[in-house]
């Protein structure tokens, strides 16, 4: 039995999108963030949710969005969470940092900060995150660097920045930060940019090899299905949605993960029921816990990956029983089937 199959009374960590408001309009944004949604939770409601999570001993909350620092109550909420001993990771675009935010993060053992940067040059980053953002993000990283803040630069790997990964790692190192890479997945605005930004099979192989050679690169979830076995022990080795993690959206809806925010996968709303009830009893969560995609069951790697990332599979094929199209088996097959390149 894999560890992720051991039933948990609550998630290990969860993603909490506190707002859909964002000052940027990245073309791959997983939640299509731009303006605040009607009915976003207020501070008192958020604190009540924190109380529930603390009672359940959820260890870690990863804040994203939207840009969490644009929520007026975000820093007070963060301080409140820290009084409950919960570890936090703040994912920010780095362009709206205030002195108060930097002071709140500095030397705080319960804070980790992740700044999103999608290219090592303005030409690449700004095509994804918007004109002029590269220099603004770098200024943000410079404000955080060297301040006793566990810092990482997060890059969503796309066909545009694939060739700059080593450069991004060096750049992160120069600020005393780690490089964390995330898979590009076709949810939110990324559905419209999927075909343009997705990696081709050769690039997926290159990424897998690169990650295999460098254990210092941090990876987000879902890399287990595209990576070689040597790296698998470094992180979660199967989809953790509804088993070890989940996602709370700005309006209190709870989903299996940040990439599966579809109404049909919603476990419930925290204005109507408790987090514990959703985690234990919602039909959507129970379904995800036993999900074993039909397309994968005969695969020789099934026991090691259990079907890869359901979000990619679902948004590409609209079928949770299909395979993650970017899994190691699929990209290897695609490479084998491709006609040899002329002159190669």
């Amino acid at each position: 039995m894999k560890y992720a199959d051991w039933p948990l009374s609550a998630p290990v960590n969860l993603t909490w999108e506190v707002t859909h408001q964002c000052n940027l309009k990245c073309i791959h944004c997983l939640s299509s963030s731009s303006v605040e949604s009607p009915g976003e939770l207020d501070e008192a409601e958020c604190r009540a949710i924190v109380d529930q999570l603390a009672t359940l001993k959820v260890f870690e909350i990863n804040f994203g969005g939207g840009e969490p620092l644009l929520k007026d109550y975000f820093l007070p909420l963060l301080r409140y969470i820290h009084t409950r001993g919960i570890v936090t990771c703040i994912s920010t675009n780095g362009t709206v940092l205030t002195d108060e935010a930097v002071a709140c993060f500095t030397g705080n053992p319960l804070v980790n900060v992740q700044v999103s940067l999608d290219g090592a040059t303005p030409e690449v980053n700004d095509r994804i995150r918007g004109q002029g953002t590269f220099h603004r993000i770098i200024k943000g990283i410079e404000r955080l660097a060297g301040k006793n803040i566990p810092l990482s630069i997060n890059t969503v790997v796309t066909s545009l920045n694939f060739m700059q990964l080593s450069q991004l790692k060096e750049m992160a190192g120069s600020y005393g930060a780690s490089l964390r890479v995330s898979r590009f997945r076709p949810s939110g605005r990324a559905r419209d940019s999927w075909e343009m930004l997705r990696l081709n099979p050769e690039q997926l192989r290159g990424l897998s090899d690169w990650l295999g050679d460098d254990p210092s690169i941090l990876t987000g979830d879902s890399f287990f299905s595209i990576s070689q076995d040597g790296r698998r022990h470094l992180g979660l080795d199967m989809c953790g949605a509804c088993k070890m993690t989940c996602c709370i959206d700005p309006c209190g809806f709870v989903y299996p993960c940040a990439f599966m925010q579809e109404r049909e996968f919603c476990g419930g709303n925290l204005r109507e029921t408790t987090f514990k009830d959703i985690w234990d009893n919602s039909a959507a969560f129970q379904y995800f816990r036993q999900l074993e995609p039909e397309a994968c069951r005969k695969c020789p790697r099934f026991n090691s990956c259990r079907g890869g990332c359901p979000a990619v599979a679902y948004f590409v094929s609209r079928d949770l029983n299909s395979a993650d199209p970017e899994c190691l088996i699929n990209w290897s097959r695609d490479i084998s089937a491709a006609p040899p390149l002329e002159g190669k």
């Binding site: 560890y3 051991w6 009374s9 001993k57 260890f59 001993g85 990771c89 053992p109």
Partner: protein, 88 residues
């Protein structure tokens, strides 16, 4: 000798045992200890003998079985830096 949680480690009870969480590395550590161990056993006040007596009382497991098995479990936790043993 007492045991306490190592710095930057949290733990919670699950129905199959204990789930440890290492804050700095964001890693979890699963310990299938069933109903034997509770997070309170690592608050620094419980002696090893006290834990054995507590398990025996709650689970009606003979003390000699616990004495034989528990050190393996706690040694693994010490080795993985989840807990620290301290001389009283």
């Amino acid at each position: 000798m007492t045991c306490r949680l190592a710095d930057n480690v949290q733990v919670r009870k699950e129905n199959w045992g204990l789930l440890f969480y290492l804050e700095t590395r964001h890693k979890v550590f699963f310990v299938r200890s069933g109903d034997w161990l509770y997070p309170e056993h690592f608050d620094g006040t419980w002696t090893f003998d006290g834990i054995i007596n507590d398990i025996a009382r709650r689970t009606e497991t003979p003390a000699e079985i616990i004495e034989r098995s528990l050190p393996r479990l706690t040694e693994r936790l010490i080795r993985n830096r989840m807990i620290i043993d301290e001389v009283c």
